[in-house]
């Protein structure tokens, strides 16, 4: 089932001008219903739709190490897990079972390394060490993909709550801007270049 997850190389391609070569797919296309996950938007305190609460807590704990909470909010505060739950139940349904299998492997590794199966109960240092050991796996890359998507997608998909993802990097979604847009064009105008 790992063909439904992302390889490291494939993952990076999503940052290009156009996403391509990204999923390694060996099956014929599944035509999913139109991507109207927005209709399934999560609200505060919503229940999970695709995930059970225990596994949701584990995925949320992983997301919290990918975009941690430090001096500023991270994946947890942005509600990334609700995005993940949303898309694993809709446009990325093909990823659900492989992600469960990946989580089980991670938990088994945690169990043998630290004697604790539950990822969420490990210390931050242990969690980071464990994740670093699986950094090249499709499971981790897909987890990273979903975490980032949930951090920066429109809030109507369930994550990016209170626009925390956008605020973090200095992006503001507006329909209108006026020049100057940055420092250098303001300087250019001031100097009459």
């Amino acid at each position: 089932m790992s063909e439904n997850l992302l390889s490291r190389r494939a993952f990076l391609q999503f940052s290009g001008v156009a996403a391509r070569n990204s999923l390694i797919v060996l099956s014929l296309p599944t035509i999913l219903t139109a991507c109207k996950e927005a209709a399934l938007a999560q609200t505060e305190n919503a229940r999970f739709t695709a995930l059970g609460s225990a596994e949701a807590a584990e995925f949320a704990a992983i997301a919290a190490r990918i975009i941690p909470t430090d001096e500023t909010p991270g994946a947890t505060e942005a509600g990334v897990i609700y995005f993940i739950d949303n898309v694993l139940g809709s446009s990325r349904a093909e990823m659900l079972e492989p992600m469960r299998a990946g989580l089980a492997e991670l938990q088994a590794a945690g169990s043998s390394m630290y004697g604790t199966k539950t990822f969420g109960t490990l210390s931050n240092a242990q969690q980071d060490e464990l994740l670093a050991s699986i950094e090249e796996t499709q499971f981790f890359n897909t987890m990273r993909y979903l975490t980032i998507a949930g951090m920066f997608a429109l809030p109507e998909y369930g994550g990016n709550r209170n626009l925390l993802g956008w605020k973090m990097i200095g992006f503001e979604d507006r329909h209108m801007w006026m020049p100057p847009f940055g420092f250098y064009d303001a300087d250019y105008a001031a100097k009459g270049e």
Binding site: S15, A19, S22, I169, G170, F181, D185
Partner: protein, 553 residues
């Protein structure tokens, strides 16, 4: 307005397949000249109010650019001896909607220059390639470039950097962005001549459309205020208002039928619910782009046209060109905010023709952009551009600085036409309609790679001159694996043995069949081909109208 409607079993004057850059112009020109026109478009008719700032949907769920998730898989291989593999998103990327890719493009409107049309003669042939002169000159196309400027709507500044023009731009250049200032200052310091980027985005109201409000969602998105000059907001409304044009959306063409005389008679298509229809027509104009037009020709094979309709030359699908690309990203001490406003505001064309003594063919231009189209998710997916961090606290801190403080100087350059780079029908993979998937075979000529490297190096020098604190450059050193400029696959030429359409875009083999889109280009130009596709469409329409009036189609 009463909707125009034509019966399928009576001949209309023209069926136009595709409503994009060329198809929109063809529909408007033919219908306003009094001919009956049916336009068949696979996608929906989206209006400005339908477009959203929705990166997840547009970039990852194929909202406009249909691919595997929407039932339109594609396959790719570098060489013909390999088996092509299915890839997730499109290799050949284009938008499926009225306006085609002119709805989601960046609107960079570089004209070709006189040398582009005669470069093979001037520079000499390049062994192992199909590098050739065009059958037309810049002078012949210039009036149509000017027509594009004024009818479609282009903003720019005429100057010594421009190829010769018969009329000024209708709109002044767009306001310079911080990334443009960085490139302009760096370019001048290095002795180049940076100039305001010509763009099909309105800097002031024109033809009843408003000026850009700088929202930042151009590339890959549709314009919410119709300030971006797509054919959907410039040409299609005029075609519909003529009363002679019926736009049928959600219609996917399966084949073009011909009669015993070798003439096109009807276009067969599926409506959205799968109902098969066939529209009879006196003539057919294929404007389905450099990927879909060759696929349709292949699918329309018959005993009379065993290698595909209009393919006696064997050149249909061949000579696929994308335009090379490269970039250098730089981190700056102060905010750049490249995510605001249009993608690019300055261009450097001082390397339009690279010195042949360097030992390879090539040329291009450099513009200034965001590295990741100004998109938050894309920036984060890429990971720390200058550190390589990809998760954790360091990754987060990198993103917080990089998103607002990065500019990218991008090279756009030549691709050589090769028979071995092509679009064909995949032997096994099918789309949702059961049609063979598009199969791309593509590996850049060594000169393409050298040209991309050359432009990355120039961009890196510019980054130093601009005062970047950190910089990183890249190009497709192992060859490009896809593109948005789909060029060369139905090339224009005087010789029916080596080209698909004549100098007026008429099929050499089928007198009432025309192919007008990126496939017509003989050489790649230096990037940004849509301006030329549109000029060719206006020119072809002029000649088609004259020929039709003389009963010579």
């Amino acid at each position: 307005m009463a909707w125009t409607s034509f019966p399928t079993r009576e001949e209309v004057d023209f069926v136009v397949v595709g409503s994009g850059a060329a198809g929109g112009i063809m529909a408007k020109e033919l219908s306003t000249a009094g001919f009956s026109v049916v336009v068949l478009e696979q996608g929906p008719h989206l209006h400005p109010g339908d477009f959203k700032h929705d990166e997840w949907s547009y970039t990852h769920n194929e909202e406009l650019t249909w691919g595997r998730r929407k039932g339109h898989p594609q396959t790719f291989r570098k060489y013909e001896h390999e088996e092509a593999k299915m890839v997730d998103s499109g290799v050949l990327n284009y938008a499926h909607n009225v306006g085609g890719s002119s709805a989601h493009y960046s609107g960079n409107f570089w004209r070709l220059r006189p040398i582009d049309f005669q470069e093979a003669s001037i520079r000499g042939p390049i062994a192992g390639t199909n590098f050739a002169d065009w059958p037309i000159t810049y002078e012949e196309l210039e009036p149509y470039y000017t027509k594009v400027d004024w009818e479609i709507g282009v903003s720019g500044l005429a100057g010594p950097w421009d190829p010769p023009r018969s009329r000024d731009y209708p709109c002044p250049p767009m306001p310079v962005k911080a990334s443009g200032v960085l490139m302009e200052r760096a370019g001048k310091a290095l002795g180049y001549e940076p100039y305001p980027a010509p763009v099909a985005i309105l800097s002031r109201p024109h033809n009843g459309r408003p000026a850009c409000i700088h929202c930042g969602f151009c590339n890959g998105f549709g314009c919410e205020v119709a300030a971006k000059s797509s054919s959907a907001v410039t040409m299609i409304p005029l075609a519909e208002a003529s009363g002679n044009c019926e736009l049928r959306t959600g219609c996917t063409v399966s084949r073009i039928n011909t009669n015993d005389a070798g003439r096109v008679t009807e276009v067969v298509y599926w409506e959205e619910d799968g109902t098969e229809q066939a529209q009879m027509a006196k003539a057919v104009v294929l404007c389905a782009n450099g990927a879909e037009t060759p696929r349709l020709l292949f699918l329309s094979e018959s005993s009379r046209f065993p290698d595909g309709l209009g393919n006696s030359s064997g050149m249909v699908g061949k000579n696929l060109m994308f335009n090379g690309s490269s970039n250098a990203a730089g981190l700056f001490p102060e905010p750049v905010n490249a995510h605001k406003s249009i993608p690019t505001t300055r261009v450097i064309h001082d390397f339009y023709t690279i010195d042949p003594s360097l030992g390879f063919y090539g040329g291009g231009g450099i513009d200034c952009r965001s590295l990741t189209r100004g998109l938050p998710m894309a920036a984060a997916m890429r990971g720390g551009t200058f550190s390589g961090s990809s998760w954790g606290s360091d990754f987060k801190k990198d993103l917080m600085m990089e998103f607002t403080h990065t500019a990218s100087f991008n090279g756009h350059c030549t691709t050589l036409p090769l028979s071995t780079n092509n679009v064909t029908l995949d032997p096994t993979v099918k789309d949702k309609w059961g049609r063979p998937a598009l199969r791309t075979t593509f590996m850049n000529h060594p000169d393409d790679l050298a040209t991309m490297k050359f432009f990355m190096e120039r961009s890196m020098e510019l980054m130093d001159a601009a005062g970047a604190i950190k910089k990183v450059g890249s190009y497709a050193e192992n060859g490009q694996t896809g593109g948005v400029h789909l060029l060369g696959t139905c090339r224009m030429g005087n010789d029916p043995a080596t080209s698909v359409v004549d100098r007026y875009n008429r099929s050499h083999d089928v007198p009432n069949l025309f192919m007008v889109d990126g496939g017509s280009l003989v050489t790649s130009g230096r990037g940004q081909p849509t301006m030329t596709i549109m000029a060719l469409a206006f020119r072809a329409a002029d000649h088609i109208i004259q020929a039709a009036r003389r009963n010579e189609i």
